[in-house]
């Protein structure tokens, strides 16, 4: 009998409080701007934080208040920024979808190993020990911290042990670029074909000592090809994707280290 009383009393209490709260909600309702509601409605809802805000609704509010530009949302892409522009009544520039890419093609065979790492299988842990087992201190450690960080499972290890990003699945949230201790994952345009797969800034001689496929900064790709889109800075070549890409294939052929690779 006692348990029945307890049940009834608590249920009544909960019901009374619930009803009065629902009533108060109606009475004290705050009108939200229609545009803000519409903006929140079209967000992808991944809450990945790639835009730099706490979540999708925080970003929608920042855009609504004019604190942030539309188009920072990578998962939504151009389609979303267009829609946002329509709601806000402003023109939005189209920008190309960016995806992550591992700028390193070295592995245990092509890159000299300083020591055998047997610790925790985590890049940030390995890097604490003399910058990791790789002779090249700026390359990929292949321990896969980025695989764990990716919210959509777009990063995987292939049969050769290389870390690869599936550009179809990548939402461009930059979670992997933040977790990588060597900053070897950088964003490239979705359509990018030829990419310098190296992150080493050492001069040529030092690179050759530690890696067979590292960029030596020889400037062949920049100077020997007419209308080249490559530029060597700080002993590392990089592809300027805003330039005409027609000469990229020739530059890739001429590269003595074969570190300009074609993405499939």
């Amino acid at each position: 009998m006692n348990i029945l009383f307890a049940f009834i009393v608590l249920s009544l209490l909960g019901l009374a409080l619930g009803v009065s709260l629902a009533f108060a909600d109606k009475k004290l309702h705050v009108e939200k701007d229609e545009k803000l509601v519409a903006l929140e409605g079209i967000m992808p809802g991944a809450n990945c934080g790639g835009c730099g805000y706490a979540g999708c609704s925080a970003y929608a509010e920042a855009v609504f208040n004019g604190e942030a530009a539309p188009g920072l949302c990578s998962p939504g892409g151009n389609e979303l920024s267009k829609k946002m522009g329509e709601i806000l009544g402003v023109e939005v520039e189209e920008s190309e979808r960016m995806v992550a890419f591992v700028h390193c093609s070295g592995n245990a065979e092509s890159t000299k190993q300083d020591y055998d790492y047997c610790g925790i299988q985590d890049c940030n842990a390995a890097v604490l020990l003399h910058g990791g087992p790789n002779g090249c201190k700026e390359g990929c450690l292949h321990l896969g911290s980025c695989i764990a960080a990716c919210p959509v499972g777009a990063i995987s290890k292939n049969e050769k042990g290389d870390i690869v990003v599936d550009k179809e699945a990548c939402i461009g949230c930059k979670a992997c670029t933040k977790v990588c201790p060597n900053g070897v994952i950088k964003m490239v345009p979705y359509s990018a074909e030829y990419i310098v797969a190296c992150n080493n800034h050492l001069p040529g001689g030092k690179v050759k000592k530690v890696c067979q496929v590292g960029c030596i900064g020889c400037k062949i790709c920049q100077v020997k090809v007419e209308g080249s889109c490559f530029k060597v800075e700080n002993f590392l070549s990089s592809n300027d994707f805003s330039l005409d890409q027609s000469a990229a294939e020739k530059a890739a052929e001429l590269c003595p280290q074969k570190c300009i690779i074609k993405r499939g």
Binding site: F5, A6, V9, L10, L13, G14, L17, D25, L28, V30
Partner: protein
């Protein structure tokens, strides 16, 4: 105990933050500037006062007649949670800027143990309705005083050369500890000596 005795007890002698160490989360979280600290203090005072009365009524009107005293914790939490929701709605309507400043700490009043603490202490001490109400206000005022003092301290600390390792939360915790030490001067003998018992 007289009403003034209850007031002095819960503002100074048994200050919820500095003596009983309840409600530390907003004490550290919302004490960055005195404006939002006052806002938080007022919100908590309102909730403790209303919660004291509501919980007293629920206990003596609903639980005691059916012999369900053992349900007091869960029903008090229910009442407090509903009250905080109400306060949140009111603040959102009345003052959006305060609503923004309090942020996440506003719903966290729900889990602020000072509120549940005063409701249970009222019952344990056998206070009547008016005494509970006064104790609730006093607990809230004590909370407000502590958090506003802390906010003023922290505003001054911002402009003080503090050693790098202590900047931010560490120096805040140290200051809070020293404040708590200072409050030990308010002893329960204060009540007896002032003839407020």
């Amino acid at each position: 105990m007289s009403y003034i005795g209850i007031l002095v007890t819960y503002i100074f002698v048994n200050n919820f933050i500095l003596v009983k160490f309840m409600g530390i989360c907003p004490f550290i979280g919302v004490s960055k500037n005195s404006e939002s600290a006052i806002g938080m203090g007022v919100a908590v005072t309102f909730v403790t006062a209303v919660a004291s009365v509501a919980c007293w009524a629920v206990y003596y009107g609903l639980l005691a007649p059916f012999g369900l005293e053992y349900l007091r914790t869960i029903s008090f939490i229910l009442v407090i949670a509903a009250l905080v929701q109400l306060v949140e709605m009111v603040i959102r309507k009345m003052s959006p800027s305060l609503y923004k400043a309090l942020g996440i700490y506003l719903p966290l009043i729900t889990t602020n143990c000072a509120v549940l603490g005063i409701a249970i202490i009222n019952i344990d001490n056998g206070y009547n309705l008016l005494q509970s109400f006064v104790a609730g206000i006093a607990a809230g005022l004590g909370f407000t005083m502590a958090i506003v003092l802390m906010a003023n301290l922290r505003e001054k600390l911002e402009m003080t050369p503090v050693r790098k390792a202590f900047v931010g939360v560490p120096i805040t915790f140290i200051s809070a500890g020293i404040m708590a030490l200072a409050f030990m001067a308010f002893d329960s003998s204060l009540i007896t000596n002032l003839g407020l018992a």
